[in-house]
Amino acid sequence: MRGATGSANAGAARATPGDVAALLDGSDEGIVLCDAGGVVLLANAAAVRMAPEIVPGGPVPSELCPAGSDTVTYGGRVIRVRTEAVGDHRALYLSEVPSLPRRTEFLLEAARRLFASLHPRRCARAAVDLGAEFLCDVAVVVLPPATNRRVEWVRAAAGRPAPEEGVLPLATALQVPGLNDALAGLTHGSGGRQDAGAVPDWLLPDGFGPAGDLLVFPLPGNSVPAGAMALVRRADRPPFDEEALAMARDLASRAGAALSAAMLFREQSAINTILIDGLLPPDLPEVEGMRLGGRLRSSQQAGAVGGDFYDVYLPETGAGHGIESGIVERPPLIILGDVCGKGARAAVLAGQVRQSLRALLLLESRPVRLLQLLNRSLLASPAPNSYVTLILAALREAPGEHVLVDLAVAGHPAPLVLRGDGTVEEVPARGSLLGALKKTVLRPVTVDLAPGEVCLLYSDGITEAFGGPTGREMFGEERLKDALATCRGMPVDALVERLEQISSEWLAGGQQDDRALLAVRAGGQEPATGTTTGATTGATMVWAETTG
């Protein structure tokens, strides 16, 4: 420093203490002089602006006294503190790190965390975490009240590890001032400061102490709020300033958008689940004298439904048979089919076909006649392209644990039969696809399965899988037949699983189409396989490593 103050350098022009004070107050840097005991001797205007608690004669707030030089957070501001020795005293030079980076960091974090989850409670956790990290000591989100007049809440407190969650009667929750209006969407857009003295106990974690400042905001949703958020600062901290208020509003509007998206997703998923449940293949029942095994895989990555389907129709049981009821007696019946198209639209049509057949089966049991009726109903369908290929098989028990399979095939790949000696036959049943032409041509076939023999119904997703070493070769019927031939003696579950696995392996990394397999094996008891050993002679790569 050049020049002089006070009494030194007598004779030269001097700056007065008033000049010095004005000089210091003119600085953007906060300057605090304190004695060795940490008592403030002098603080300029910038220092008081940054830390209003600093008064001459009082202590320097401990947060502002790092060991050396450091960046500290004080009253929501980020302040860089430089400490210098000045004679016996200590000078603190405070410069506020512009709040923009903090705000930017907040915005980036908010964008990243709020939209990561599709689950409302996880969204709420992200919102309160952000609040406690950037804005306040305690942040609470209250989700919209459920029908039973209870509300879920999620709370984060600065310095505590994980958010807490709970459920409260709505009336208790509404003790928070302003919460009623916020949840009802009455506080348009803004919301804001509420009486911190009226904060109910439940809002704060144990041992928090008295609240100093309270903000309550609605979380704006699509039409009604997606909940409300309360932000609390401790009594010993400065209240929310304009900057913090703006950030809090921002947090509320972003959290509201994320939460309402998550709630919409939850609602739609719930509807989806209900719809899909009706379209999934049934659990295969036990049928006297035979065993069934089925597999269905949909090409839809996130949905579980597609255009392939199968179903089982057991005979009507109980009273109501006979001529009086008009309901026909019939053996168990299985179907496997493929509707034109993929995804949800195809699945809906598949569901309609399954349901139509269920109704038709009350009055008709002959496979060919059933398919003709189904064809007419599809032709009458208002939906365009209601084309279906289908196999229908009636399963009749015969003496000696034989099963007679009456097959009608409409435009579908013909079933395969695995004989007891390991040979595989293609069933010569043929017919035109359904839903296209008024006249259907169907050539039914009855197959006689000896005990242990298997009739396999499959969809073209299996045989038309493109893959192999080049990635461009079709799996094809021959490979399916070869694969089936290796399944002699296998339980029917294992058989369909193995065929699906072989077809998956053929695909390597390729795109999967809808695929369906349904097999029926004659005989109630699964056969022993212990008599065949070392059937593989080449280098088949099927793994069986398991972990404990």
Partner: protein
């Protein structure tokens, strides 16, 4: 009825008895046997992990040494699936803990190990959603969005699916749900699980259950591991389609016995080369040489048990190496693979002696 004697050294009589039932694909017999154990006071967890799991591991060995056919192995696994389901129906404690989603990585078809984990967690009182084999990652993400589980337990048996496991873990963690990884693909320690970003790893189902029970779902030292930068995995995946037919052609030229192969044998060979390429890709993706060399060693043993000399594997790797001139890392991996195949060729033809699975 028992075709080949089952080597039983080191197995309890329960395991031997159970193996006999599943060898004959006798579902009812196997269920009776296991229920008998439960009646005698053996815990359900011990039945699952000390009887069924080791028996199934044994089944894998028996197939590897060509004592059991693929059909037998599949039949046995199908029976075990049903037995596990029967045990689960019989011993069903009410859920007392949080919700866990258990799934196999997309394309992973081996569901039994993961299913055993699901049942053990159920026995520990967790509410378990078992999504089964080969769960597409978008499906998994949709599901966790719906049910908000505390943890996803992700099973992977074959290392080839580890790149997919990596993507699945990232998707779960983005959705805010921690992932516990397990299964033979991860090997004998937590290294690979860390590499793909999992929050925890367990070597066995009971250990996984203990980790979850204690709430200690975090690598004690934090994760911090990162996959090495790599562009050769993508290159290999892209070129797979043209590389394999070309390699087959060259292999046929340099390995005379192939000239007499029938179409079926040729297809098997093509499949083997495909598997080798896929394991190579997974090893490159992870930067884990052992993923590749372990597979080569194992393949040599499996082929030797079927009378195919290890020579053909060395040649196959050499052909691939010759084709991939512009991929230095891949070539280095292939060179290591050739070394492993050479060493395996010298070893006795008993994959049993190389107990690779944990």
């Amino acid at each position: 009825m028992v075709s080949a004697p089952v080597a039983t050294a080191g197995f309890t009589s329960e395991i031997v008895g159970y193996l006999r039932q599943i060898e004959e694909a006798d579902e009812f017999g196997a269920v009776d046997l296991v229920f008998g154990m439960l009646d005698e006071g053996v815990s359900a967890q011990d039945v699952l992990l000390r009887v069924i799991a080791p028996a199934q591991r044994r089944v894998g060995r028996l197939w590897a040494v060509n004592r059991w056919s693929v059909a037998q192995e599949h039949a046995a696994s199908a029976v075990s699936e049903r037995v596990v389901a029967a045990v689960a129906r019989r011993v069903a404690p009410p859920p007392a803990r949080g919700r866990v989603v258990v799934a196999c990585v997309e394309r992973e078809q081996h569901s039994l190990p993961t299913r055993l984990l699901a049942e053990v967690l159920r026995l520990h009182g967790w509410r378990v959603d078992f999504l089964g084999a080969s769960v597409p990652t978008p499906h998994l993400v949709e599901w966790i969005g719906q049910v908000n589980p505390e943890v996803v337990a992700l099973g992977c048996t074959l290392p080839v699916w580890l790149p997919r496991a990596h993507r699945a873990v990232a998707a779960c963690r983005t959705a805010g749900v921690p992932v516990l990884a397990g299964g033979a693909a991860f090997g004998a320690d937590d290294r690979i699980a860390r590499l793909i970003g999992a929050d925890a790893w367990a070597p066995a189902a009971d250990v996984a259950a203990d980790l979850l029970d204690n709430g200690s779902l975090m690598f004690a030292t934090g994760n911090g591991a990162e996959l090495p930068p790599d562009d050769e995995y993508a290159c290999l995946a892209r070129r797979r389609g043209e590389l394999l037919p070309r390699a087959l052609e060259l292999l046929a030229a340099s390995y005379p016995p192939m000239r007499d192969y029938d179409p079926w044998q040729l297809e098997q060979t093509a499949e083997d080369l495909g598997h080798i390429t896929d394991f190579l890709g997974a090893a490159l993706y992870l930067g884990e040489m052992s993923v590749f060399t372990d597979f080569v060693t194992w393949t040599c043993a499996v082929l030797a048990a079927r009378g195919v000399p290890g020579e053909s594997v060395v040649l196959g790797l050499a052909v691939l190496r010759g084709e991939l001139t512009d991929c230095p890392r891949t070539r280095a991996f292939l060179a290591e693979g050739m070394r492993a195949a050479g060493a395996a060729r010298g070893a006795p033809d008993h994959p049993e002696t190389e107990e690779t699975s944990p």
